[in-house]
């Protein structure tokens, strides 16, 4: 027997974007069904590094990032838990003069956008962060940034959405979606038939086929950022660490475990899941031991990797479809979606309610790839390099 649902909005993908959008729309009074092929928040939203960081984002993302920035301290009210969010600050290290110059240039570029970046020279860095090994030229500190626990936050958004009255259908992959005269028709799982006025495509690394089904192919491919976790150590790392040029990022949770990333894993035979490579894990471990003397005798107890969708220009797609009315895309966060996702959720809800958002999202239009020539992409290369290292 099939299960028929008729909703204002159907959301494909229960990651942090989909579930925060579901919650925001439900609170506006829309009826919503949230569909996930597995558990909500079990993919990149739940298994990313956990950086809650504005610093380092391209200027066009900062307004959205600032909107999300206001949401993070309110998680407890919003979803019932604080998600282990810590406003620790985000310290981006420069290991060469060239990297320091690049940090300075970035700080100048975003000076008016409210990040309050503080550039720190080598001597001062050693004084204030003596637990970082000597060979660092300088750094840029964004005191308002921090980190949180993705495996808790993402699931809690979905849980809160369900509690607010969203129909959350897990293990219900969408097999077919099409535009009808009065909206959309979706078939999902073994027996769900859904009619909806709006469809949100927030399917992360799996969003490509849905966009393509509506005539909007995108340069989206899967990446597998991978992390290592140490045994609990005395707390020494009081700030979320990133590095200009990439290669390492690290944070320490209250319990004492350090989480360190900077390499990529490989997909498994079952391609929804991935695993760090042995050599990649050893590389991250060695880098961590070299940069943080406190970790020299530590053990790695756990690795993990997640499947994330990355766009060719590392900016997400957010906004209305150019081919299909009432279809909205929000995917391709390219390893940097965790912090902005709750803000994206609010934006999506505004799009459904008002047809527009008060936060500028023009830079994330899906047709930018059709408009962009190879030449202008090449012009963007230096910019891309700077965004290495994801969260």
């Amino acid at each position: 027997m099939s299960r028929a649902l008729h909703k204002d909005v159907a959301i494909i993908g229960g990651g942090l974007v989909g579930s925060s959008a579901a919650l925001a729309m439900r609170r506006m009074g829309f009826s919503v069904v949230l569909l996930d092929k597995g558990f909500c928040g079990a993919q990149a939203s739940g298994v990313n590094y956990g950086g809650v960081r504005r610093q380092g984002r391209p200027p066009e993302q900062i307004a959205l990032s600032q909107r999300a920035h206001a949401i993070w301290p309110r998680l407890k009210d919003l979803i019932g838990i604080d998600g282990e969010f810590l406003r620790s600050g985000h310290l981006k290290l420069a290991r060469t003069e060239a990297e320091m110059t690049s940090l300075e240039a970035y700080a100048a570029r975003v000076a008016d956008l409210g990040l309050d970046l503080e550039l720190i020279g080598g001597n001062q860095l050693r004084e204030r962060f003596p637990w970082i090994a000597g060979d660092v030229t300088g750094a840029s500190l964004c005191a308002g940034d921090g980190h949180a626990n993705p495996r808790l936050v993402s699931a809690a958004f979905a849980h809160a959405a369900r509690h607010a009255g969203v129909d959350v259908l897990e293990h219900t992959p969408v097999s077919h979606v099409e535009k009808t005269l009065d909206g959309f028709h979706l078939s999902a799982g073994s027996n769900a038939e859904i009619k909806a006025g709006f469809v949100i495509n927030s399917a992360g690394a799996w969003a490509g086929p849905f966009a393509e089904a509506f005539g909007e192919p995108v340069p989206l491919h899967a990446i597998y950022p991978s992390m290592i976790v140490t045994e609990p150590m005395n707390v020494f790392m009081n700030v979320n660490i990133g590095a200009e040029g990439g290669g390492i990022y690290a944070r320490q949770v209250e319990r004492g475990n350090c989480i360190v990333g900077g390499m990529r894993g490989e997909p498994l035979a079952e391609p929804d899941f991935s695993r760090p490579t042995g050599s990649g894990a050893v590389t991250i471990m060695n880098r961590a031991a070299a940069l943080f003397p406190a970790l020299r005798h530590a053990y790695a107890i756990r690795f993990w990797s997640g499947t994330e969708g990355e766009m060719a220009d590392r900016n997400p797609v957010i906004g209305f479809s150019r081919t299909t009315p009432n279809l909205i895309h929000a995917f391709g966060f390219s390893g940097a979606g965790f912090q902005i996702a709750p803000g994206v959720g609010e934006v999506l809800a505004e799009l459904v309610r008002d047809g527009e958002s008060r936060t500028p999202i023009q830079a994330f239009a899906i047709d930018r790839f059709a408009r962009t020539t190879q030449g202008s992409r090449a012009d963007n290369e230096p910019e891309l390099k700077k965004r290495e290292a994801a969260q």
Partner: protein
């Protein structure tokens, strides 16, 4: 021809050694990696430092088997590449990552025989994290490898054949064993009478252990429900219920375990298909009678493929070795294969009877108190897991891990997952097989951050 294959055997216990011997006899030179400093596995573990104890002292009735196995290993030692004290922490794409001290290297293989053995199945009881509480296997290791007892007055608790073996070994070594507390009812032991026909020597040996324990004044109790292990900074006593009545005994150490649990992480990383074994109440890699897993070129032998004991492990190791030779197009003794398979089938039949004499304490999951630690690495209580399962509608083990941290610590679920499965299943009203199993991730065990990576071994 034999140069064309490069088999890797993980584990140098009874299964691993017999597998290696089988390959060596066919002119193949396998790599043998073992976590222990010397060969023999858990059951035929060798002393760390030579002492005056004889093989008979160390291995009791199994001394002849131990000597034979150690001799075999000495004979093939020069015809294998042996890496003792080495942990295989990752497996991917026909190669393993193995760490020896601070050095890790990637070792490619053409075929893989997993002989990774088993560890105790641990079910938390109140007080189980007190200093002075050991697993049965841990108690045995202390005795075998270092010649020391876990305490001056020891109580052994739990279920499974190992309970009596370890208690008997302690008594033989001159340790003071105050009691053996068997959670299975005495009536379950009648199953052993059926076992008399299948493997009379094993059953009689078990009876002899029990009789000698009692003759030495050890209290042997059946149908015991553990109430708690007492103590403030370490073990001071143990309290249990028996036919509704509470008993207490002073002791300074407790060795306990509830049968064994296969070490299956490498089979999991290799991508082997798993099946739920209702008898062992655990997931184990699927295998055919020869030890072939669902992954071509990957074989599994011994207790790592389901609990069957050391004798079966020797046979299964040899059988897997022959299967590997056969699959590689090398001559394999088919008459011998027939003999091995018949013997293995007979042990398997007996094992089913044996396990029914040591049934799983089904009531544990519902009776264990909320405040007892479930996951000791991450310090998560039974009640935390129950509350998360109830409040957040969790009915799958990886989800429980993600939302509560159970199984996320140093042991990566090796110690706590069996118990977590029972708690989750009982809370959400499912059977243990229906809540799934933890997804495998390297490292199999913790490894130092400062490991130095070496190039691929030749």
């Amino acid at each position: 021809m034999s140069d064309a294959i490069r088999p890797l055997i993980v584990g140098a216990g009874p299964a691993g050694i017999r597998a290696a011997q089988t390959l060596v006899n066919a002119g193949v030179r396998p790599v043998v990696i073992d976590e222990a400093p010397s060969s023999g596995g858990q059951i035929y573990r060798q002393r760390l430092v030579p002492d005056e104890r004889s093989a008979k002292d160390l291995y009791g009735s199994e001394a002849a088997k131990a000597i034979a196995l150690h001799e075999t290993f000495a004979q093939i030692r020069d015809r294998i590449d042996y890496l003792p004290g080495t942990l295989v922490w990752n497996l991917h794409d026909k190669a393993v990552d193995a760490v020896t001290g601070q050095r890790t290297r990637r070792i490619a293989f053409s075929h893989l025989i997993l002989a990774t053995g088993a560890t105790d199945r641990v079910l938390p009881v109140p007080g189980w994290t007190l200093p002075g509480v050991f697993t049965l296997g841990g108690s045995q290791i202390a005795l075998k490898s270092q010649g020391c007892a876990i305490g001056d007055k020891v109580v052994f608790l739990g279920s499974g054949p190992l309970l009596y073996v370890v208690a008997w070994q302690y008594v033989k070594a001159g340790a003071n064993v105050a009691a053996v507390l068997d959670t299975a009812p005495f009536s379950a032991k009648f199953h052993l009478l059926r076992g008399l026909f299948a493997q009379p020597s094993v059953v009689l040996r078990g009876f002899r252990y029990a009789a000698e324990l009692m003759a030495h004044g050890v209290a042997v109790r059946f149908g015991v429900q553990p109430a708690r292990i007492d103590g403030t900074t370490r073990v001071e006593g143990i309290v249990w219920r028996e036919r509704g009545k509470e008993h207490r005994l002073a002791c300074d150490a407790v060795g306990y375990g509830f049968s064994l649990r296969s070490e299956t992480q490498l089979a999991d990383l290799a991508g082997c298909r798993f099946t739920f074994d209702t008898r062992d109440r655990a997931w184990r890699p699927e295998r055919d009678g020869a030890g072939r897993t669902s992954v071509s070129g990957v074989y599994i032998a011994g207790d790592g493929a389901g609990i069957a004991g050391a004798d079966a492990a020797e046979l299964a190791g040899e059988r897997a070795g022959l299967a590997l030779l056969d699959d590689a197009g090398l001559p394999a003794d088919h008459a011998r294969i027939g003999v091995l398979e018949r013997k293995l089938a007979s042990i398997q039949h007996f094992r089913d009877i044996l396990e029914s004499a040591f049934p799983f304490p089904e009531a544990w999951a519902t009776s264990i108190a909320d405040d007892v630690t479930l996951c000791r690495c991450e310090e998560i209580a039974v009640g935390d897991a129950r509350a998360a399962a109830r409040d957040q509608g969790i009915s799958e083990l990886n989800r429980l891990k993600a939302l509560t941290r159970v199984g996320m610590g140093r042991c990566q679920g090796r110690m706590c997952a069996s118990a977590a499965v029972e708690v989750l299943a009982s809370t959400c009203g499912r059977s243990p097989d229906a809540v799934g199993r933890l997804r495998a991730q390297p490292p199999v065990k913790p490894i130092p951050l400062e490991v130095a990576a070496e190039g691929e071994a030749a």
